[in-house]
């Protein structure tokens, strides 16, 4: 007799494990199936371990610029193995934390490769043995993986994906980063701050192409000032791997040699070998098609997170998981929508945004009012020695709706949630103007940016 559950979650990333916890809270008998490590890419190979690495490079940057703060630090050096080890330990700690959460919430963890076998049936294969599990509801949360360059398959030696770039055995002397989304720019920032010579190649006409144009331009300038080379409206046409590095042929024919190359040109969803074809589950460009409650076209089968499409973000997956499970449990959650999901890039300088860019807002037919406040006008930023960056806000001129907010500079990833709350609660410029922001903080710039949109900025 196969084990029977109310809900089985296939995949234990930030979408899957959060869905499992919520299901358990709501009284559903829940199992979670994972082929690798609990926590998925996010906390084992993504968000978390990269933040650990970037913390190291940030401190390295401060140590090598200690004199700016009246300190002297000489002979600053590093041990790459120890840096990687710290990052892995951070991931390990969180992986153990998820294990604990599963236990606490009485979620059964099943290790192995899961695949849908039919409605309500899932098989799990481990070490050649296959077991069958039954459930009324099955959530597919298998995530996504890095897209390969067809002519330059990552080998982990000279050509890396994010996964290799996270556990380097040697420090690149000269690094080529292909792709300038969040992942590409974060690794570029890490390796550049650790001393590598970094070149970024982007197909589109600007880096961080999903961000507001002013933000892209600012980061472009800041990274160039740090010594990086950036080629936009470009591309890599050929990669030749040699013993000591790679030779890249860029669009237009120019060639350049690098010690290492990171491919960060996007992701592909993990939909292979999980049995979705046999069940006739609808997909679009590889992504599983779902409604606002994570329901697929097949009753009893749901999908959440990266496997369902952009934005490919951990917090999007978690939120989708919660909404999906609440609907399964008969609650009345608000359907999932993507209009208010903040995005963060942890490069130096940091980038954070939520909602529409100025260009997208105009495209959507809004008459806009924009505000912008620079870090140089903020006392706390100057005291921190981080006077570069700005906060931009985009309002609908007629209604005062906060359409979007875009930030670049120190610690902005910790600030953006303020605007996300404002948007979720549908505040207007009036409520934001009447909000008291503590002094001295970087958050004061959020206030000033709103004031500026209405010609009332106080400190600039």
């Amino acid at each position: 007799m196969a084990d029977t559950y109310d809900l089985i979650v296939l995949g234990s990333g930030p979408g899957g494990y959060v869905a499992a916890i919520r299901a358990s809270q709501l009284g559903l008998k829940t199992a979670i199936v994972e082929r690798e490590k609990l926590g998925g890419i996010c906390l084992n190979w993504g968000c978390i371990p990269t933040k650990a690495l970037l913390r190291t490079s940030e401190i390295n940057h401060y140590l090598t610029h200690a004199s700016a703060y009246g300190l002297s630090a000489e002979k600053v050096s590093f041990d790459l193995a120890k840096i990687v080890d710290r990052s892995r330990k951070v991931a390990g700690q969180l992986n153990a934390g998820v294990k604990g959460l599963m236990k606490k919430n009485k979620v059964t963890v099943v290790e192995g490769d899961g695949a849908l076998k039919g409605k309500g049936v899932l098989t799990v294969t481990k070490d050649g043995k296959t077991t069958e599990l039954n459930a009324k509801h099955i959530i597919v949360a298998t995530g996504a993986r890095a897209r390969d360059l067809p002519f330059a398959k990552a080998d982990g030696k000279r050509i890396w994906t994010y996964r290799h770039a996270m556990v380097p055995s040697e420090m690149p002397s000269k690094l080529l980063v292909i792709g300038s989304g969040a992942i590409g720019v974060e690794f570029a920032s890490f390796y550049s701050d650790m001393g590598a010579e970094v070149t970024i190649v982007e197909m589109l006409d600007r880096i961080l192409p999903v961000e507001d144009e002013e933000v892209s331009a600012f980061v472009h300038k800041a990274l160039t000032k740090q010594g990086m080379k950036i080629h936009v409206s470009s591309g890599v046409e050929k990669i030749e791997t040699g013993a000591s590095g790679v030779k890249a042929t860029l669009k237009g024919g120019a060639t350049e040699e690098f010690s290492h190359c990171i491919v960060a040109i996007g992701i592909v969803p993990n939909t292979e070998n999980i049995g979705i074809e046999a069940l006739g589950i609808e997909t679009n460009r590889g992504h599983i098609v779902t409604d606002g409650y994570g329901r697929t076209n097949v009753e009893g089968v749901y999908a959440i997170g990266d496997v369902t499409g952009p934005p490919w973000l951990a917090h999007k997956a978690s939120h989708e998981g919660v909404v999906c499970v609440e609907a399964i449990a008969g609650k009345k959650p608000h359907p999932f929508e993507t209009w208010n999901i903040p995005g963060c890039t942890y490069s130096r300088p940091q980038v954070a945004s939520v909602g529409l860019t100025e260009a997208k807002a105009k495209e959507a037919g809004h008459e806009v009012k924009t505000g912008k406040f620079p870090f140089i006008g903020n006392g706390k930023a100057i005291a921190l020695g981080e006077a570069e960056g700005f906060i931009k806000t985009v309002f609908d001129a007629k209604t005062g709706e906060l359409l979007g907010a875009h930030m670049v500079g120190a610690e902005v990833t910790e600030l953006i949630q303020g605007y996300a709350i404002a948007r979720q609660l549908e505040t207007t410029e009036e409520d934001l103007m009447h909000t008291v922001f503590p002094h001295p903080t970087l958050s004061e710039m959020m206030h000033e940016s709103v004031l500026d949109a209405y010609g009332r900025a106080l400190h600039y």
């Binding site: 329901r295 609907a327 007629k398 549908e426 505040t427 207007t428 009447h434």
Partner: protein, 445 residues
């Protein structure tokens, strides 16, 4: 300086009320403790006492004014020696200031208040609001309860001339959000919401109230009292959100009637007379204590089981139904219940119950026996878990010990919140109630 007399909050939840009647007039001298006015809240009429002494210089809100916001200045009192005329002079210019910082709206008194000169955004916060809200009437609830809406939704409604109170919000707790405004047409209530992708099994969103045109038949229309509005809201909420199940039993009353006349004979000297209803209150409380799974409240996240049975007793008053509470009825002597109910019902009919005397209660009892109603199903009074509906006690052919006899029998129907109470638990309560009424000594012991 004259003392400003403000609309009081007579219960913790009161936001506005009707100034039903002034008990003083301009020129009257009042002392602390004197009754000044009668104020009607959503459920009761309460007297408003003077705290200060002096002379009523000016009455600013006329009696009969509806929806007076808490904190609105309703009268001015001149203190001793103060010129009454001088006190009333500035009153005319004084703008009534609502407690929440000067929002203007439908709830403002009828007194003319000169509109402030617009000095531009930022002159002072109170004016900013007025400037931002160029047409405040559109954004304010038209009548009755506070309308929950996001700031953006309020502004959009204002700009499009949409009456927020006619909309059904889809945000958390029924909050009206931008999406609700986008789907609404100006000047008319929104058609019933059709949830685009409601999860299977989830109840559909409640339809917006339908506004019926009054047919062309000679009629008289009376404005809804706050009490009537509250009754309408709460009963609609109950029937729409609480799945009711109904369980009916026939109960033989002869032993209870006999016990009642014996007890009444004994109580006569004390001037107490027990009614059947008093005994049924006690029986229901005892049954609830015996079957605690029915003495419950469903909160959405928790199931609360009460350790005391407080019985709300439905009392009909000239203005509507109200339910005074007999607290801990199981532990009270029948004579105590009788005395208490008599006193509570009397004050209920005069509209003088205090909020704590009718809010709360763990279950209700409604008796229509005196009207000859044989049997009926009552609507649960949320957040309570059940209500017992009592029909008329009447002589019926009844099988006792396998022979057909005449017995006094009543039908009692319990309505249970099926989210919290399973059928079997409800049935157990009905059994216990029947047993206690048919063997009434059991509830005295």
């Amino acid at each position: 300086m004259p003392i400003e007399l403000k609309m009081p909050a007579l219960s913790p939840t009161m936001e506005e009320g009707t100034l039903a009647k002034w008990l003083v007039k301009e020129g009257d001298t009042v002392a602390a403790g004197d009754l000044l006015a009668e104020i009607e809240t959503d459920k009761a009429t309460m007297e408003f006492e003077a705290v200060d002494e002096g002379t009523i210089a000016k009455i600013l809100v006329a009696e009969g004014t509806d929806e007076v916001k808490v904190g609105t200045v309703i009268a001015l009192i001149a203190s001793e020696g103060e010129d009454v005329g001088a006190a009333s002079a500035p009153a005319a210019a004084a703008e009534p200031v609502a407690k929440d910082g000067g929002e203007t709206g439908a709830g403002q008194p009828a007194t003319p208040a000169p509109s402030p000169e617009v000095k531009g955004y930022g002159a002072n916060p109170a004016e900013d609001k007025k400037i931002a809200a160029a047409a405040p009437t559109g954004a304010q609830p038209g009548a009755g309860d506070r309308v929950k809406a996001s700031p953006l939704a309020r502004r959009l409604a204002e700009q499009k001339g949409i009456d927020l109170s006619a909309l059904q919000g889809t945000g958390p707790g029924g909050r009206i959000v931008k999406a609700d405004i986008d789907g609404a047409r100006p000047g008319q209530p929104r058609p019933a919401a059709a949830p685009a992708a409601a999860p299977a099994g989830a109840p559909a969103a409640a339809p917006a109230p339908v506004v019926h045109g009054v047919p062309d038949i000679p009629h008289e229309a009376v404005k809804l009292s706050n009490m009537r509005k509250t009754i309408a809201r709460r009963l609609t909420e109950s029937k729409q959100t609480v799945p009711h199940i109904y369980l009916t039993v026939d109960v033989q009353l002869d032993k209870l009637l006999k016990l009642r006349s014996e007890l009444n004979a004994g109580l006569e000297s004390r001037g107490v007379k027990l009614s059947v209803n008093d005994m049924l209150i006690k029986a229901l409380a005892a049954a609830l204590m015996e079957v605690p799974s029915c003495n419950v409240m469903y909160t959405g996240s928790e199931l609360v089981t009460f350790q005391r049975a407080d019985i709300s007793v439905a009392v009909s008053t000239p203005t509507g139904l109200i339910t005074p509470i007999v607290k801990d009825a199981n532990s009270k002597a029948l004579s105590a219940i009788a005395t208490e109910i008599k006193e509570l019902a009397g004050r209920a009919r005069e509209g003088k119950l205090k909020p704590e005397e009718y809010q709360g209660g763990t279950a209700s009892l409604s008796n229509m026996g005196m009207y000859g109603i044989k049997q009926f199903e009552a609507v649960i009074n949320p957040p309570q878990g059940m209500i017992m509906a009592i029909g008329a006690g009447e002589k019926r052919p009844y099988v006792v010990d396998d022979s057909l006899q005449i017995a006094t029998v009543m039908s009692a129907t319990g309505s249970f919140d099926h989210r919290a109470i399973d059928g079997a638990d409800g049935a157990q309560l009905m059994q216990a109630f029947k047993r206690l009424v048919e063997n009434p000594l059991g509830m005295l012991a």
